[in-house]
């Protein structure tokens, strides 16, 4: 199976093109859920989709180790390879290795200026030219609106896709007008796409609900299903 076939069979492809079939380059995306429902898995699938489409991805992990982040990719990739019965798994792994760069930070060290500095460092020295940045573990609870707005500016000016993850809590039921849960309810308007993973005790599968998408790729309210064992989008 060719890598484009792989990309085309990825359910997350719906976020790659708008209704007219144009590729969406710039985007501020957000995946939210309670702890342990698979935010990182979704982010990694988005990253892999981007890589298969020929892009380079910078994966920023706040508070997680390099090995742990790498293990996420290995697991998800293994699942995809097994699902699609592709034989060229080594080639695929190489492709991912070449086009993915993981940066981990401890919670105290990470900041928006630091991210920009690291990004510019990579590009200026022609080490790596990401078009997609994944930021997993960002602390929205202790972040002001301006910081998120700054990141959005960065995404706009550099033509980047930036995807965040955020953890919501059962006891905090605040919602924005658009339906974005806390702690992101005040910054929800800064995102083009917001997805929330839901677990329903009556359903075996998890669902990935599209809370909003202003890029025209997907209609709000659409839900994708997630395999609870592999966290892969069905």
């Amino acid at each position: 199976m060719q890598k484009m076939d792989l990309a085309d069979s990825n359910p997350l492809r719906i976020f790659a093109q708008d209704a007219e079939g144009n590729t969406v380059d710039k985007r501020m995306g957000l995946i939210m859920s309670r702890a342990g429902l698979g935010k990182t898995a979704i982010l990694v699938q988005i990253a892999l989709d981007s890589i298969l489409r020929g892009n380079q991805v910078l994966h920023v992990s706040v508070g997680q180790s390099l090995d742990k982040t790498r293990a996420w990719y290995d697991d998800i990739l293994k699942g995809i390879v097994a699902d699609l019965k592709t034989e060229d798994s080594n080639e695929l792994r190489e492709l991912v290795l070449r086009n993915r760069l993981i940066m981990t930070f401890d919670e105290v060290t990470f900041s928006r200026p630091k991210l920009e500095e690291r990004f510019n460092d990579l590009v200026a020295q022609d080490i790596f030219r990401p078009t997609c940045i994944i930021i997993d573990g960002f602390d929205f609870a202790n972040t002001d609106q301006q910081t998120v707005a700054d990141v959005k500016d960065m995404a706009d000016s550099m033509g980047l896709q930036i995807w965040f993850s955020a953890r919501c809590h059962r006891e905090d039921d605040r919602l924005s007008d658009e339906g974005v849960p806390a702690p992101c309810h005040e910054v929800g308007s800064l995102f083009d796409t917001v997805l929330v993973i839901h677990a329903d005790k009556d359903q075996p599968d998890l669902s990935l609900d599209v809370i909003k998408d202003s890029t025209g790729c997907v209609k709000s309210g659409k839900a994708l299903e997630l395999d609870p064992a592999t966290y892969l989008v069905k």
Binding site: L66, L101, M103, D106, R118, L122, Q125, D126, I127
Partner: protein, 691 residues
């Protein structure tokens, strides 16, 4: 020795090179009356410091091997390991830390926290070694202990709190203010041996009050008794010491001491601090693996009555044979005892037991738990565990970094050849990071170790101690060749021009082999190649894969199938079919699109974050692929995959790029295709060499 383990201290002295730790150790030995005169490291008297026992160390003014020594200070038995300060010798530091209970981190008052201090500090954290800091060289121009204390907090993340204040600095250094007793302490006499306590000079009183408050604030976090006493205004020196001790042992407080070993200032106060704040063997938890119980973890007891467990942490080739430094963790080691090496299962007898004072020694009959002594004539490797017959423990394995650099060495004559193997045998036993092997392809002896200086020192030692003069070659990389597609061959070897002729025809195909290096498949039907010549074909192919046609590198990952051929009743022979197979291989190989492969190393470079961009750039320039970075505080680890051929000399580049503050390790990851442009260069070069 004293049976009271509370009075034993096993300490290491670790620091950046040139922070003066050898001088400090020398002074400690003088004040504890182990030596009777003071020699300087690079002394004019030509004697050299006592701890630098190897000739080479004396000449270079650096400490290479960690000599262990024993001394007594105010009824406390102190075993000191003087550890090397260069980044290339970290295994020595690591091994020392493994057997130590506490350490003194020495810093230069001018240079402050340097790269090696960062490395050593991390190593100490890895082994949970409680530490106190000593800011040395306060007599030097530019001395600034306050700045160094700040660096301890910022760069090493330690909760560093001054326990002393200097009285004067640089040339005017007179003594220190002890913030626990609130006294000024002066060190009089030619060698600073007379301690005089006075009231704090008036001009320092305010500073001393402020610093004391800081010390009390920090210490009272670890003692409610002290906290209450501070509130009531009645803290006693004992209460303060107890609280500092608790904080230090918990690795949550680092009391900072100051002085100048060279000018004989405040070394005695540091010795007091070792007794007061560093742990005794029973205060440190050491874990052994019970080999009889599937390596279950067992806490060693420290009880001298229990079965004996001791770790050999250092070997030295002394004048009287192999000297093995051991640390006992429980039980008693007696002269005449039979002990087992848990790795080899061999029983050895303890012939002589000595307590070492650098390269002088004191014969003893027994040593109790928690002690560091040396054994004579015991054959073992560094890191082996000894047990009395009742237990089969292995002390948890030490973290041994993989060697990062290799060099080819060739003895200059026959005499050097013999001596070289003796020396290599010894070095590999002494130092687990030093490895040696004979390269089958080049037939050269390859030595590998932790850095260029590491190998240089061994080459020097070979010359000096073993009279083995060697020529050192440039580092070499082992390339491989493989094919990328299937190709047919059909080759006739024919030599029938008078005399006995040769004839053989071999036909078939060559194809890539996914797993494994070489496979031969015989699909001959109808006897087109007679049975007796099939193995000759295999032999011919095997001879061919030893040297590929591209760069003369071994060919791997090929399957050769023969399915047709021809023979001659008289002229066909074993040799003829071997040559036919060689010709067939050559024919098929070039059509199968061969490619050159090179070893790729997994490189992990770590250092202060400020150099992250520069380090990534340097790896990228070396055809490296950056896999990830991990940033924590001011420290960054960069993971990358880089071709080995690009990594030679990188330690030097990295050091100059980062002011010596970054280091790297690497290990073999895989063989991968050499990019076309690079491969062409290598092939051209190899073909030129052939001519």
């Amino acid at each position: 020795m004293s049976k009271d383990l509370d009075m034993v201290r096993n300490i290491g002295i670790s620091a950046h090179i040139d922070s003066g730790k050898t001088t400090l150790t020398e002074r400690i030995l003088f004040y504890t009356q182990k030596i009777h005169a003071i020699h300087e490291v690079r002394g004019k008297d030509g004697v050299g410091a006592t701890m630098d026992s190897m000739e080479l160390e004396k000449e270079r003014g650096i400490t290479i091997a960690s000599a262990a020594t024993h001394c007594t200070w105010k009824d406390h038995e102190i075993n000191i390991i003087d550890t090397p300060g260069h980044v290339d010798f970290t295994i020595e530091v690591e091994r020392a830390l493994r057997v130590l209970d506490g350490a003194v981190l020495i810093l230069c008052s001018v240079g402050g926290v340097q790269s090696q201090s960062i490395t050593v500090n991390r190593q100490m954290t890895r082994y949970n070694v409680p530490r106190i800091a000593f800011i040395n060289k306060c007599d030097r121009t530019g001395a600034n202990p306050a700045r160094v204390t700040e660096q301890l907090r910022e760069k090493l993340g330690l909760n560093a709190v001054p326990a002393q204040l200097p009285i004067g600095l640089e040339g005017d250094l007179e003594g220190v203010v002890d913030l626990v007793t609130m006294k000024a302490v002066y060190f009089d006499g030619d060698n600073g041996e007379n301690i005089r306590e006075e009231e704090i000079p008036a001009n320092l009183q305010d500073a001393a009050d402020a610093s004391r408050e800081e010390l009390l604030d920090a210490a009272s976090m670890f003692s409610e008794e002290l906290m209450e006493a501070v509130l009531e205004g009645t803290p006693t020196p004992e209460m303060i010491r107890d609280a500092i001790r608790i904080g230090t042992l918990a690795l949550e407080l680092t009391p900072v001491f100051i002085g100048s070993a060279y000018k004989n200032k405040a070394v005695q106060s540091l010795l007091d601090a070792v007794n007061d704040y560093l742990p005794c063997p029973t205060e440190v938890e050491n874990i052994a693996l019970d080999l009889d119980k599937d390596e279950a973890e067992v806490k060693v007891s420290n009880d001298p009555a229990d079965p004996m467990v001791a770790l050999a942490f250092k070997l030295e080739d002394g004048r009287y044979g192999q000297l093995t430094y051991v640390r006992t963790y429980q039980g008693t080691l007696k002269k005449g005892d039979s002990i087992f090496n848990s790795r080899t299962g061999k029983k050895v007898k303890v012939g002589r037991l000595v307590r070492m004072h650098s390269d002088e020694m004191e014969e003893i009959d027994l040593c109790g738990s928690g002690d560091i002594v040396a054994l004579f004539g015991v054959d073992c490797a560094s890191g082996d565990t000894f047990n009395s017959s009742d237990t089969n423990y292995s002390m948890s394995s030490m973290h041994i970094p993989a060697p990062v650099i290799s060099l080819a060495i060739n003895p200059v004559d026959n005499k050097a050849q013999g001596n070289m193997s003796k020396a290599l045998n010894r070095f590999t036993k002494e130092d687990p990071t030093f490895k040696t092997f004979v390269d089958k392809e080049t037939n050269e002896t390859i030595i590998s170790g932790m850095g260029e200086l590491h190998l240089e020192v061994y080459i020097e030692r070979m010359k000096r101690e073993y009279e083995a003069e060697v020529e050192v070659g440039a580092p070499q990389v082992s390339y491989r060749e493989t094919i990328t597609q299937r190709a047919d061959f059909d080759y006739v070897h024919k030599k029938q021009t008078g005399g006995s002729g040769q004839f053989g025809r071999v036909a078939g195909f060559i194809e890539p082999l996914e797993e494994g290096e070489y496979e031969f498949v015989d699909k001959i039907v109808g006897g087109s190649i007679p049975r007796e010549f099939i193995s000759a074909c295999d032999k011919g192919f095997q001879a061919s894969i030893a040297k590929g046609a591209l760069a003369g590198a071994p060919v791997t990952g090929v399957r050769l199938t023969i399915n047709d051929g021809a023979f001659h009743a008289v002229d066909s022979s074993d040799v003829a079919f071997q040559l036919a197979a060689r010709g067939a291989f050559k024919q098929g190989y070039l059509k199968a699109k061969p490619m050159l492969m090179e070893p790729i190393m997994k490189v992990s470079a770590e250092g202060p974050t400020e150099f992250q961009g520069a380090v990534m750039g340097s790896l990228n320039q070396r055809r490296g692929m950056i896999l990830g970075t991990a940033e924590e505080g001011n420290y960054t680890v960069i993971d990358a995959e880089v071709p080995l051929s690009e990594m030679f000399g990188y330690s030097t580049v990295l050091r100059s790029l980062t002011q010596g503050k970054a280091e790297f390790t690497m290990e073999f990851a895989a063989y991968r295709q050499v990019p076309k442009s690079v491969a062409e260069e290598i092939i051209k070069e190899r073909q030129k060499e052939k001519k």
